[in-house]
């Protein structure tokens, strides 16, 4: 599904953010990208989401080479993903419902069908009763859940989350991880970048550990606690 082959990414005027990274993620996998801050986790996610292009090497998403995509094709590539950011990137001039419906409008889905799907997505993250609320009135954890609802409303096959629990306390973080786990159960490929081991320990999964832009041994977490 996602294949990195000898990928190097260098930003102008800085060191290599990623060096010779190769890995393969199968459909339906749940993968953590770990490492200290500045290790290249965000760069890795941006390469997957076609926000950045590799300096060298190839990134294949569903057998399509990101570097060779025409810029007009990139929006359609991005619709395969649900993106979740540490800073939520919500729109604060509209209410929860209108935030979540945006990806559907981009896909040209409107009216009753769209409203039904928005409510289903809000229900999944437990925010159905807040559909008329403005995002600024929500707590940090609720805002992150709203961002997740927006990411999943168009039913993408891949969810990419950059530090989704970064700003949240432990109980909120556990909520968020439980939601991701639920999506994993129904076959969505999930890639989560995180620096804290707290969330990931609950779920059996693979971790890609980055250290200064170099991929260390991809390891499976062995902690098989019962998932709460």
């Amino acid at each position: 599904m996602i294949k990195f082959d000898q990928v190097t990414k260098r930003y102008p005027g800085s060191n290599e953010a990623l060096r010779n990274v190769s890995f393969n993620i199968e459909a339906g996998e749940l993968v953590f990208v770990t490492g200290h801050s500045g290790a290249g986790k965000s760069t890795l996610l941006k390469l997957i989401a076609a926000i950045e292009r590799p300096t060298s090497g190839t990134v294949l998403i569903a057998n399509q080479n990101i570097s060779k995509l025409k810029s007009s094709a990139i929006p359609f590539m991005r619709r395969r993903f649900g993106l979740i950011f540490q800073d939520h990137k919500l729109l604060y001039d509209r209410n929860c419902f209108e935030n979540v419906i945006l990806p559907l409008h981009i896909n040209g889905i409107t009216g009753l069908e769209a409203a039904k799907r928005v409510r289903a997505a809000l229900d999944k993250v437990g925010l159905l009763h807040k559909e008329k609320a403005m995002p600024i009135t929500l707590s940090g954890g609720e805002q992150q859940r709203l961002a997740i609802a927006r990411a999943v409303v168009s039913r993408p096959s891949i969810l990419i989350a950059d530090e989704p629990t970064g700003n949240l306390d432990a109980s909120y973080a556990a909520d968020i991880m439980a939601i991701f786990h639920a999506f994993h159960q129904v076959g969505v490929t999930i890639i989560i970048a995180t620096h804290d081991a707290l969330g990931m320990s609950a779920i059996q999964s693979r971790a890609l550990h980055l250290d200064h832009g170099v991929l260390k041994q991809a390891e499976f977490t062995q902690n098989e606690h019962s998932t709460s």
Binding site: K46, P75, R78, L83, K89, L91, L102, N107, G108
Partner: protein, 306 residues
């Protein structure tokens, strides 16, 4: 197809709701467009009306042939015969000095020209005259015909009555060029104003642009609301311009009617000029679209996502 329509409907809805929450700025930009459209529109209306008026006069070209004061009946019938033979002439008629005298007297009575000295004249000062309509309306042909007729013995003076109309129409065509020039300048200014407004809007909606790009919106999707904003500004500005035009013309007609009564004329500008109004509105829409298109293409490309 349905998708496509839906996206346009969504974009228009979004723009209208943004305009509703920003009524005053929206009205301001529409007012700017309206004024900039109204000024050349008004000039055009005036010049167009005048030039129709002069064209009308030019089509009725007449050569007036004044005979010598001492011309007797024989001389008049000689000239009549010469004119009848000339095949450049469509028709002509004679106004004798007695007829002209009578007409002049009755006209002065109507105009109540009490201070006129005409009634005090005891002798008819007017000559016999032929009024001639040529077949051709070409200025050159008329000029040569006039010269030819002037050489007929017994003719004192030949007068082409279109000279002033010709001058006026030359002046009016200059006026039309000036209007075109003003229109182009104002259109440029409008492009800048609209472009700037849209650019500011894009900057305030920057978050939305970034998020839309991140979740897979195409550039045309992001552009659409801003283009519609430009189009709607143009439409509202154009409509406002036509309303202003109607009001100004109405005021103008009111005040000019006093003046034209004094000249016993019924000069007034037409209140509704469908073609001009349609032209103004579609031109305003076009300028709105173009201004926002130029601004949007550059601004959206300059917003980087990360």
């Amino acid at each position: 197809m349905n998708n496509w329509l839906n996206q346009h409907r969504q974009a228009i809805k979004l723009v209208l709701s943004r305009m509703r929450s920003n009524k005053l700025p929206t009205f301001m930009i529409c007012l700017v467009i309206a004024v900039a459209m109204c000024v050349p529109g008004l000039f055009y209306l005036g010049v167009d009306h005048l030039s129709k008026f002069t064209n009308h006069i030019q089509n009725e070209t007449e050569i007036s042939l004044f005979l010598k004061l001492d011309a007797d009946k024989d001389a008049v019938s000689d000239i009549d015969a010469v004119l009848a033979k000339n095949n450049a002439i469509k028709q002509f008629h004679l106004v004798t000095k007695a007829q002209a005298w009578k007409e002049l007297k009755s006209k002065t009575e109507i105009n109540n020209a009490t201070d006129s000295k005409i009634s005090e004249l005891d002798k008819n000062p007017l000559p016999d005259a032929f009024f001639i309509q040529a077949k051709s309306a070409e200025p050159e042909a008329l000029e040569s015909l006039k010269n030819e007729l002037e050489k007929i013995p017994g003719v004192e003076h030949a007068l082409l009555n279109t000279d002033w109309a010709k001058r006026l129409s030359a002046l009016l065509s200059l006026g039309k060029k000036i209007i075109l020039f003003i229109t182009v300048l104002l259109a440029l200014a409008l492009l800048v104003v609209i472009g700037n407004t849209i650019r500011m809007q894009i900057l305030t909606q920057k978050d939305e642009v970034v998020v839309s790009k991140l979740i897979g919106a195409t550039n045309s999707f992001i552009r659409m609301p801003f283009l519609y904003a430009g189009i709607i500004y143009g439409l509202l500005g154009g409509l406002l311009a036509t309303i202003m035009l109607v009001l100004v013309v109405k005021l103008f007609n009111l005040s000019v009617s006093d003046l034209s009564n004094l000249y016993s004329s019924d000069f007034s500008l037409p209140l509704i000029n469908g073609q001009l109004f349609l032209g103004i509105i579609s031109f305003a829409i076009f300028i709105g679209w173009l201004g926002s298109y130029l601004a949007v293409s550059r601004s959206i490309a300059s917003i980087k996502i990360d």
